[in-house]
């Protein structure tokens, strides 16, 4: 992995607020043209990490390199940052706002005008161009906020919980755009506590828990390293079998099916045979990959 391929590099970065350590000895590398998921529960240190990357706050110890350099104004202009806490100027017209945010990234002129039109069209907001943002619905405002992040055509996009509160249609739309940006060679850091969303768009992930890194690597690798040791089961009866700790280490019941994590040493064939022997009527029995959520829980308990 050549150095130029790494867009963001953190080297043993720590940040304390008084007695509280928000980030401890964190090292990670975000590769160019990848979607990098920064994942973890609330309070794990995701937002602090991101704020250090965009230079809102500095690390107490450790180094951060962006595009191979220390942060400066020029580097800052190549970043698009959508924070979790975000808003718009209520009384400002949509186009004026977008122009303002572009100017703050040192981009102006005709270029911006055409980009504003392009993006508004792409997010189906063209007719709102000259409306004040207070007249827009919450979903529309969120899409405008997204445009403010990309209006200056940044090479690195940092999105903190970008999809929270979006309806399914707009969520799908934004997800497509994020993947398009990735195809266009942009690097994307994506932070969320919603593992299901991350699972669908991330190439690489970094799991944070209690200010520390639990795991970093590609999503593919981590999933295959866990193996297919989960089974989705829909059946009537056979409860005693699924509750047998020698076979199933963890059982999660959903609405009409259950997900069973196989115990060490047990295999799916044995489980299926036992279920049939117990007289259960089986509607579904499928080997599945562990979800990111399962992996996360496993990793966190493993570390503890």
């Amino acid at each position: 992995m050549a150095a130029s391929e790494i867009t963001v590099k953190l080297d043993r970065v720590s940040k304390r607020f008084g007695d509280f350590t928000a980030v401890r000895e964190l090292s990670l590398a975000v590769r160019r043209g990848r979607v990098f998921g920064l994942l973890g529960p609330n309070g794990a240190g995701k937002t602090t990490t991101i704020r250090m990357i965009v230079n809102i706050t500095g690390p107490d110890t450790g180094n951060i390199l962006l595009f191979g350099r220390k942060i400066n104004a020029e580097v800052q202009n190549r970043i698009g940052y959508l924070p979790e806490e975000r808003g718009l100027y209520r009384r400002m017209k949509v186009a004026d706002q977008l122009r303002f945010f572009a100017e703050l990234k040192n981009v102006g002129g005709k270029q911006v005008e055409s980009r504003i039109d392009e993006w508004l069209a792409r997010l189906k907001l063209s007719e709102w161009k000259n409306k004040r943002s207070m007249e827009l619905s919450k979903g529309m405002q969120q899409k405008i906020q997204f445009i403010t992040t990309v209006i200056h055509d940044p090479d690195l996009l940092i999105l903190d919980e970008p999809f929270s509160g979006l309806d399914p249609v707009n969520l799908e739309l934004l997800k497509e755009i994020v993947l398009d940006l990735k195809r266009a060679g942009k690097t994307i850091i994506f932070s969320t506590h919603q593992m299901e969303v991350a699972e669908k768009i991330c190439d690489d992930i970094c799991l944070l828990n209690r200010s520390e890194k639990v795991f970093e690597g590609s999503l593919r690798d981590i999933k295959s390293s866990f193996g297919r040791n989960s089974v989705a089961v829909r059946c009537e009866g056979g409860d005693g079998v699924l509750d047998d700790p020698a076979l199933v280490s963890k059982l999660m019941r959903h609405a009409d099916e259950a997900q069973a994590l196989l115990a060490a040493g047990a295999d799916a064939q044995t489980l299926l045979r036992r279920l049939i022997d117990s007289g259960a009527v089986i509607g579904k029995f499928e080997m599945i990959e562990p979800s990111l959520n399962d992996i996360f829980i496993a990793k966190v308990t493993e570390a503890a």
């Binding site: 940052y81 703050l104 040192n106």
Partner: protein
């Protein structure tokens, strides 16, 4: 620099475009001219002729009264710039008529005159009894006893007439009489380094004007600056901005942007006021009254401008600092009360400084940032201090502005990282150091 200008431009354009700005900019001069012009016009209109009959039973007062009344009216006109609208010419339009009282009884006379009054041929009549010169008691009958202005004018004219007549009877010649009534003049003369100069009254008025303008613009725009600083916190835009601009750039941009709005408004008002004043001077000149524009050294105008800006920015910066500590405009408004108090106190330092502009007290208050603008201006127009003192005062002042803005931007940044928390003073201090 481009980012700074972007912030300035946004603040400026958004505010100047707002309806509130346009309305208040237009309304104030309009209200000013309404309060200034309309009463005068109305009073002028109301001043219709007062036909007054005089029954002079002393036999020698009518002439004196007529003369006194006309000179009284001229007097009132030339004093019309002493701000009392009642004194405008309208109330002096007396038309006197002498009623011959020789062969009629007083009852007959009154019956006649009452009739004419009711027939609206007269507005009133005065009866001067034969012993008027001794006792000085007369009666004024009129349809409208509520018209105090007319009766007061009449009374003052009678006073004059009686005084004249008494002096004549005491055999005082006309030259001595004029001498006796000549008013005194007191002119304040400034002694500067170059010897005797003419008064500094005009300069004083300007210092006062600068102080008042400063005070008003702070009252009007302090809240706007507070609001501008808080806006990004309330709308949660701060974090997006901070990934693009430094907090200091943002804060300075806001301060300058809002201040340009204030200056724009002041300039518009200033132009309106000058036009109004020039028109007023023209009108007065048309009536033969000279209103001279006070002569002030050119350098003083530059100092007025500089110290006005200094005063404005100092107090505006304090509002920005408050804005960085609080989360809502209401909270900030409460904290702003002491600031206004300091502003008022610094304004009253006018008095002690003007009495002894050379004292060490005056020196120190003209160096302390918050009191410097008014105090130094007073010193400049009274006994201009050495240039280095003026320069030092400006340097300290503008240095303080930058320092306060720097502190404010640090508090702002840490405050933003800890959402929704209002900073206490010690916390704010800690934030400023740790950010």
């Amino acid at each position: 620099m481009r980012k700074f200008l972007a912030v300035v431009k946004r603040e400026y354009v958004q505010r100047v475009r707002a309806k509130m700005f346009i309305v208040s900019t237009v309304l104030l001069p309009l209200a000013m001219s309404l309060f200034g012009v309309v009463p005068a016009i109305i009073l002028n209109m109301e001043g219709s002729r007062q036909r007054v009959a005089v029954v002079d039973r002393t036999g020698k007062m009518y002439g004196q009264l007529k003369q006194a009344l006309s000179s009284e009216q001229v007097n009132q006109q030339s004093n019309s710039n002493d701000n009392d609208p009642r004194r405008s010419t309208g109330f002096g339009n007396f038309v006197l008529e002498e009623v011959n009282a020789d062969n009629q009884s007083i009852e007959q006379l009154r019956a006649n005159l009452d009739q004419r009054l009711r027939a609206r041929q007269l507005e009133g009549y005065v009866i001067l009894p034969p012993d008027f010169l001794e006792h000085g008691q007369a009666e004024f009958f009129n349809r409208n006893p509520g018209d105090l202005f007319s009766s007061r004018l009449l009374q003052s004219a009678l006073n004059r007439a009686v005084r004249e007549q008494r002096l004549i009877e005491a055999k005082v010649d006309s030259k001595t009489r004029q001498q006796l009534f000549r008013p005194v003049e007191l002119q304040a003369v400034k002694i500067g380094d170059t010897g005797a100069e003419r008064d500094s009254g005009g300069s004083f008025a300007l210092v006062f004007g600068v102080g008042i303008t400063m005070y008003l613009s702070i009252l009007m725009y302090g809240q706007a600056i507070l609001g501008a600083v808080i806006e990004e916190k309330e709308t949660r835009i701060a974090e997006i901005l901070f990934s693009s601009v430094k907090p200091f750039t943002l804060m300075m941009g806001k301060l300058v942007g809002v201040s340009l709005v204030a200056l724009t408004q002041l300039a518009i008002w200033g132009l309106a006021f000058s036009a109004f004043a020039l028109y007023g001077v023209g009108v007065l000149a048309g009536r033969g009254i000279r209103a001279s524009i006070p002569t002030i050294p050119f350098s003083h105008y530059i100092y007025f401008g500089l110290f006005f800006l200094l005063g404005y920015f100092l107090y505006a910066t304090i509002y920005a600092l408050l804005g960085s500590m609080v989360t809502t405009v209401q909270e900030g408004g409460q904290l702003a009360m002491p600031v206004i108090l300091i502003l008022v106190i610094s304004f009253y330092l006018f008095l002690p400084v003007s009495r002894s502009p050379d004292s060490s007290f005056s020196f120190w208050v003209s160096m302390l940032p918050l009191s410097a603008p008014v105090a130094m201006l007073v010193r400049i127009v009274t006994q201009t201090p050495p240039f280095w003192q003026i320069a030092l005062s400006l340097l300290i002042g503008f240095g303080t502005v930058l320092l306060l803005m720097w502190i404010a931007s640090r508090i702002y940044r840490v405050g933003m990282l800890m959402y929704g928390k209002r900073a206490s003073i010690p916390e704010a201090w800690r934030w400023a150091r740790q950010a």
